[in-house]
Symmetry: C2
Subunit: 159 residues, 2 copies
DNA sequence: AGCAATTTAATTGTATACAATACACTGGAA
DNA sequence: TTCCAGTGTATTGTATACAATTAAATTGCT
């Protein structure tokens, strides 16, 4: 029994990450409940607080999300008063996402709330650093593999 | 600049996990394309291959998913011929998920395909072990925190 | 037996995700 | 100038997720 099945280990790692991702999502959703923001909405706001306005495309690059996800998300943020969506005068294909005054005003409140909630997680910088380093490796492997054609479109079909 | 903002680091860790989860999802989806399975469908099959039949509830405990997610997922698996959904005779509230003959037949093909694709990831057992250990800690923290009322329902509202 | 409390699935509503497509628009080539 | 390739956003269709509610059935209690 010295041998470990790498297939299973890998699945467990994937499942752990999948599960952790869902838990984090839930954590942020709860933490942000006073503001009615979800985690994806929050990280969109984070990017915009850093530098707005941005086009949907620019935001998507930072968040690794496409317009199919962002367009409805941003419409919800607009409806809730966080952003405005303005079609660019220069290039009418682009939509610029601006922050509203409310968003600017509430930024520090949101930061403070997140800061408080994160304190509860009680994680050391070392832990966080180490995980992030390992995650970078994993993500790089995943990117590399998916760029090789072994796993892309022209894969052998099983019917 | 020796100080690091823990708020941001944490967000980066969360984002890293969120992003890795999406990439893994994509990886498995590509790997399983010959079988038309998604990652959540695949892990449902994994549990069932290990021990079937199971009720929706039992499956949900293993996968940390509720019936709102599983019911439609299992209906899709049924439509594609992997499982059958049979209401229990003993307790008619329960639905038992059975494997079809096709599912049993294809199991080794699926395992083999996954094994091949995972080899490409080229990750050492040490890397995997270390990540999983750290993820357990993080998930435990997230569980603990969400069980404290600081972040649950009766949170102060901001209007 | 009779009924309240509990359990279990399914349903409904909201919010992501992402592939594929549609569509408008821009900039450049002919 | 007209046409076209490329770009950026929106839309459509499919698949998760999960909270909240509903509905049906069982269990436990009297």
């Amino acid at each position: 029994m010295a041998d470990v099945n790498p297939v299973l280990l890998d699945e467990q790692l994937c499942f752990s990450i999948y599960s952790a991702s869902k838990k984090f999502n839930h954590f942020y959703q709860s933490a942000l409940a006073p503001f009615g923001l979800t985690y994806p909405q929050y990280i969109a706001m984070l990017v915009l607080w850093e530098k707005a306005p941005l086009t949907v495309h620019q935001l998507g690059e930072r968040l690794e999300l496409d317009s199919g996800t962002l367009t409805p998300l941003l419409k919800r943020l607009e409806k809730q008063g966080w952003v405005t969506r303005v079609r660019s005068q220069i290039d009418e294909r682009q939509v610029l996402i601006h922050l509203t005054e409310m968003a600017t005003t509430k930024r520090d409140e949101v930061y403070s709330r997140i800061g408080q909630c994160q304190t509860l997680l009680d994680m050391s910088s070392e832990e966080i650093d180490s995980m992030m380093t390992e995650l970078v490796t994993v993500k790089h492997q995943l990117d590399t593999v998916s760029n090789e054609r072994l796993i892309t479109k022209e894969v052998d079909k099983v019917n």
